[in-house]
């Protein structure tokens, strides 16, 4: 469960570049819900994920995850509750470490190993077992440096790593955007399988309207730091990509007329 209440985020406060990225955002994602998020560039999608994960501290407001008020927690502490897959495949894995070491690192998130060896038989077996899900043969390359993998393979590994511990909240920020269509499809299906199997509370940002409607249980649209559209259940089931596009266009149009006003 994620509860974001009354969160405001302003970048470059007190400078000429001051920009409010989120305006009094309220968003509740109940336990086990898979939420998809769309919106134009700069709408505040990544910023809201960053607020939940702790990369961005809000000016005001509160963030509660799994019943704990995490507003003042640093990133590494929140990682015990929240996992993330980044858009850039290079961000989700550490290229200087082996596949197995990356796995062990993710494992340490909920079960730190301190002065014990990072890798033991259990972790090796677990990693191999999880990697088999990918059907990429990576379970036979446990000791290869992650830097040797392709972007798609790295992203698939990131996803497995993010869902390997005991965290119940998963944040995905355009995690298939850097992949070719076929690999993107593969990673997306894998996401769906894992999220369903582990009943994770998930938030997925995407630029694909089709993806946003096809996957998950609920869709919200961001525009200029606000949620302007929120659909689930029958309302969402009846929606077509064209309906979303129409909404999108309406907002872009509004933006244009605003600019026109300013210029006029």
């Amino acid at each position: 469960m994620i509860e974001v209440s009354d969160v405001r985020v302003t970048f470059n406060k007190g400078t000429p570049l001051e920009a409010t990225a989120l305006h009094e955002l309220d968003l509740v994602v109940p336990r086990g819900q898979f939420l998809t998020v769309i919106g134009s560039n700069g709408a505040g999608k990544s910023t809201s994920l960053n607020v939940i994960a702790g990369l961005v501290r809000p000016d005001c407001g509160k963030v509660v995850v799994d019943g704990q008020n995490v507003t003042d927690w640093p990133i590494h502490q929140r990682s015990r509750l929240i996992s993330r897959v980044f858009q850039d495949p290079k961000m989700g894995t550490c290229e200087d470490l082996t596949i197995l070491e990356n796995f062990a690192l993710a494992h340490g998130r909920t079960q730190p190993r301190g002065f014990r060896f990072a890798i033991d038989k259990t972790i090796r077996e677990r990693a191999a077992e999880r990697l088999k899900l990918l059907k990429l043969g990576l379970e036979n390359r446990l000791n290869d440096k992650v830097g040797l993998l392709s972007g798609g393979q790295r992203q698939a590994v990131s996803l497995l790593m993010a869902t390997t511990g005991e965290t119940r909240v998963l944040l995905l920020d355009e995690h298939t955007a850097a992949l070719d269509p076929k690999t993107a499809e593969f990673v997306m299906e894998l996401t769906r399988e894992i999220v369903t199997e582990l009943k994770l509370t998930s938030v997925m940002v995407t630029h694909s309207m089709a993806q946003a409607l096809h996957y998950g249980d609920r869709t919200v649209m961001f525009h200029r730091g606000r949620i302007i559209f929120d659909a689930q259940g029958d309302k969402r089931a009846a929606m077509q990509v064209s309906d979303l596009l129409a909404l999108f266009k309406r907002d872009q149009g509004e933006e244009l007329s605003d600019d026109a006003l300013l210029l006029g």
Partner: protein
């Protein structure tokens, strides 16, 4: 070069292996160019010398306390960087110039002779084998043990967190690693090793000197770069071995160039030669090794 000179060079090469291991931790693992070592090397020397000479301590605990003092120095540098966001290089410079004053205070003067004092090397004298053979042997045992301990540490959960914190801080944090704490620990460890080297060097050389830290940073770096570009570095154990090898090679290169009369080099030219060596290795190795990439990327 006589056997005596040869073993003397081996001895210094072994001691500077510790400096190289420290540089490996900061530059290679943590991606933190640490200049504190210029101050922590003489700090280790000064603390050990004072404890042995003025306080009459046994040389072993004195050497250990010197290493702990070095840990403190590295910790302060990391603290300035982590807590107050001061640029890493500047943090190191601030601490190393402070240490210059502190070392003068510790020794109540610019140097402290240890001649005739009871040192870790005099403990192994009188077994019928000459000291110039036993001392390098003792050092080899100590330094190789430290290398193995470091290898083991880097394979623990904590050690792997440290490696991740240096290689990809954002990813490490997202995986629960407290990146700031890893810097504090890593810089502490690196400077403990450097101060330990300083303490041993003073006991081997016969004096602690406030100026003995000049150029230590570049010697450590040269050892790491040269060693890692010559030997294979696929595993941690290979990488640390390469650092020790690089330090030894560096010492021999210095000894030979100073011995070769036709080069016309003086002892005071060593720093210049070292700097040129580092540049030549960095330029020559293109992007083959990770270290070269790392340091070049930073400077561009």
């Amino acid at each position: 070069m006589s056997l005596y000179e040869l073993l003397g060079t081996v001895e210094v090469g072994l001691i500077f292996g510790l400096v190289a291991l420290g540089a490996f931790i900061t530059f290679r693992i943590l991606d933190f160019p640490d200049l504190t070592v210029e101050g922590s090397f003489p700090l280790g020397a000064a603390v050990a010398a004072i404890l042995i000479v003025n306080f009459g301590w046994n040389p072993w605990p004195a050497t250990l306390v010197a290493a702990i003092a070095g840990f403190g120095a590295g910790f302060v540098t990391a603290f300035l960087n982590v807590r107050f966001n001061i640029l890493h290089i500047l943090s190191g410079i601030l601490v190393s110039i402070s240490l210059y004053s502190i070392n003068l205070r510790v020794m109540s003067g610019p140097n402290k002779p240890l001649l005739g004092a009871h040192t870790i090397f005099s403990a192994v004298q009188g077994w019928g084998i000459p000291a110039y053979i036993l001392s390098p042997l003792l050092l080899a045992v100590i330094i190789l043990s430290i290398k193995v301990l470091l290898d083991l540490f880097l394979h623990t959960g904590l050690g792997m967190n440290m490696r991740a914190a240096g290689a990809n801080p954002a990813m490490a944090a997202a995986n629960g690693v407290n990146v700031g704490r890893m810097k504090l620990l890593g810089l502490g460890m690196a400077n403990a090793l450097t101060a330990l080297a300083g303490a041993m060097f003073a006991q081997s050389f016969g004096a602690a000197d406030a100026y003995m830290g000049i150029g230590v940073i570049i010697i450590g770096l040269a050892s790491v770069i040269v060693g890692m570009s010559i030997l294979p570095v696929r595993t941690i154990a290979q990488a640390t071995l390469a650092c020790l090898f690089g330090a030894m090679l560096y010492r021999f290169a210095v000894a030979f160039s100073l011995n070769a009369d036709f080069l016309g080099l003086k002892a005071s030219d060593v720093q210049l030669v070292t700097a040129i060596l580092v540049v030549v290795t960095l330029v020559g190795q293109s992007s083959r090794s990770g270290m070269g990439k790392l340091l070049k990327r930073k400077s561009s």
